[in-house]
Amino acid sequence: MAEEVIQSQKPSKPLVWNDPTYRALFFQVLVLGGVVSLGYVLISNTLTNLERQGIASGFGFLKGTAGFSILMTLIDYSEEDSYFWAFIVSLLNTLLVAGIGIFFATILGFFIGVCRLSSNWMLSKIAAVYIETLRNIPLLLQIFFWYFGVLRGLPSPGNSINVFDTYFLNIRGLYSPSPIFEDGFSLILWALITGFVATFFISRWARKRQQETGQQFPTFLSSISLVIGLPLIASVVAGFPLSWEYPVLRGFNFTGGFVVIPELVALSLALSLYTASFIAEIVRAGILAISRGQTEASYALGLQAWPTLRLVVIPQALRVIIPPLTNQYLNLTKNSSLAAAIAYPDLVLVFAGTILMQTGQAVEIIAITMGVYLAISLMISAFMNWYNKKMALVES
């Protein structure tokens, strides 16, 4: 009886609205259509309302003359330049502080993470205190601490801390000599590039030889002498085509030379110290994830503590470390927008601050700013994913 029923149902095709394929398609079309129409309504509503209230819109404002000055610029900038150029200047400042922050946070984080696992009681306790203190204080407070607390104690320009009349440290920044390149400097540059390229090939060749024959080559010493020695010889040949411009106290402030502003120092310090405390924990977790047997096996083979860590534990730990490390890099980059609180001229302060104020085009500017942060974050993720894939365990 039951068999009969099944047989009688099988050949009849289900109705269209009962067919799972069509059903699925229908709902997908419905959802996608809904999302698109919501987006359309939002955008066209915004445009209509902006027009109705007589608020300027569009991206033409980027061509306008900026007219304001920026405290720190990595590329040439003056008040006559366009808003777009000011945007580029502030974007570079954001990238600079994010880059510096990531660099120091990584080094410090790895160091402290390893210290935390040290068998030395003192060292591991100091690392523990560091981590627990810094990761539990809000970042903005730490930025204020460094900027208004610590750097405020520096002397005025007239009473600068003077190092051999070359370096000057005061509340306006750290002033150092800046190089002036004369004719023939390109020779030194080429020598430096040659040094780096040669080092790259030598280390590759040395590694290959070591893997094949077991013979070691003093790669480190040879690289150092190539990278430093070649430019040195080149500069002797070219007759030292480099001179220095020294900072001089003139009127209120030092002029000439190269200056690192306190806003950059405070922000980089706060960002790297704060993020390092999180990275340290990630590194600790990564190392602890590697079974003790690996270390013991390495010791049994006669490797000492440092080579064991460097050659056996860390390469394996990196697989655990990289994904959460990526998160920290993204956090640091986004946290750099707190710069606005202490006048470091980053994207938020200059573009989403001054320029937004002067043009009043909040919708466009906030959209661009969000897009830029998104793009930076996606690029960091893409790079870290690539690195993660490279470090992944290859099962053969």
Binding site: V36, S37, N45, F252, A341, A343, G360, A362
Partner: protein, 370 residues
């Protein structure tokens, strides 16, 4: 391939649906404009942006029972909260005057402290009803931001403050100086223009909050603190030793400061404008907080018009007849507000100068209240 077709179909449906919904949306919105009750309900439910405000603001304010006033985060004498969150200042008094005119009670004001950067967005989005936050009236702001300036309640100019120990005599001695100021203000542009015009080097350090500017200048990060002269006088009392600092004589810009309202609501613009004029006219006619009671029985026709015994200015504005009398009773005239908040007997010690009534040779001139 099938996915692609599905995607394209969905996209087409989406755009079509969006277009239709939006069309309906505009219709709904225009219906809404007529339905003031519904509209004000929307506005009181916190963040609902009042996109269209043809005569809506006054109905909204009456409905919710208070005026939402955008002020600074603390500029003594202009808009500053005390320990128990009572706001005082001449900018605050403008909002109080509007509340007295519309609601008959100057205390029915709620304050939104805003940074310079946030202020116009807050006004555009309908978060506040009036922006009274020492805001300079400029062509760009008036034309591109969707706002209207309702008048001027303080004629200011940008100045410089320096340490006396620097030995600077005037602004032309400032070449090479580090300058601290507020982000997102006309100040930032004026100072750039000034130094460029005079071919002088400078370094501008711009902070988002006024308190951070003061702290950085106080710490010696900058040689110069620049902003409107009135604000310099107000912020100076926040420094660790105010007497070690001086304001240079030069004024490098015109900074007419006044209340701002949204574009597109002319009735509300009129109410704010005439509340301010009422304060100016009262000073001109000698009507004060103390004598307003006796002035009610005056036989001078222009005073009778002012207190609402004659004429129907109040009705035309959509207010009660005694709107201006309420302002003077509860807030006082412009001169009283000035003396109380920034005058010589306060810590800020500003003199009337160009802000005197026009009868005394100043620029404060209320349009005739007839």
């Amino acid at each position: 391939m099938k996915d692609l077709i599905v995607g394209i179909v969905a996209l087409a449906i989406g755009v079509a649906a969006g277009y239709m919904i939006n069309d309906k949306g505009t219709q709904v919105a225009s219906l809404e404009e007529e339905n003031a009750g519904l509209k004000s309900q929307l506005a009181t439910s916190s963040s609902a942006p009042a996109a269209k405000t043809g005569g809506q603001t006054i109905a909204n304010v009456k409905k919710k029972g208070f005026v939402q006033c955008g002020v600074s985060q603390g500029v003594p004498g202009f808009s500053n909260p005390d320990a128990s969150d009572n706001w005082t200042g001449i900018d605050v008094d403008v909002c109080r005057a509007v509340a007295a005119a519309v609601l008959g009670d100057s205390t029915k004001v709620k304050f939104s402290p805003l940074t310079a950067k946030e202020r116009f967005t807050a006004l555009q989005s309908g978060e506040i009803d009036i922006l009274s936050r020492n805001t300079t009236w400029t062509a760009t702001r008036d034309s591109a931001l969707g706002v209207n300036f309702a008048g001027v309640n303080y004629y200011d100019g940008q100045g410089f403050m320096v340490r006396k120990s620097l030995g600077v005599k005037g602004a032309m001695d400032l070449a090479g100086a580090a300058v601290c100021t507020n982000l997102g203000t006309t100040t930032e542009l004026n100072v750039a223009d000034f130094f460029r015009a005079n071919n002088m080097e400078y370094k501008l350090v711009a902070f988002e909050k006024a308190d951070e500017v003061v702290a950085a200048y106080d710490a010696g990060r900058c040689d110069v603190y620049t902003t409107d002269q009135s604000a310099l006088a107000a912020q100076r009392i926040k420094l660790s030793s105010p007497d070690d600092h001086m304001v240079l004589p030069e004024v490098i810009s015109k900074e007419p400061l006044g209340p701002v309202v949204r574009h597109g609501d002319d009735q509300w613009l009129d109410v704010v404008k005439w509340s301010l004029y009422a304060m100016l006219n009262a000073e001109e006619m000698g009507i004060t907080k103390t004598n307003i009671g006796t002035m009610m029985n005056s036989d001078n026709p222009s005073i009778l018009r002012f207190v609402g015994k004659e004429g129907d200015v109040g009705k035309n504005l959509g207010l009660s007849a005694d709107w201006s009398a309420n302002i003077i009773k509860q807030v006082g005239n412009y001169g009283e507000s000035f003396e109380r908040n920034v005058g010589p007997n306060t810590a800020i010690k500003l003199t009337r100068g160009v802000n005197a009534n026009w009868k005394d040779g100043g620029l404060m001139y209320g349009m005739p209240g007839r």
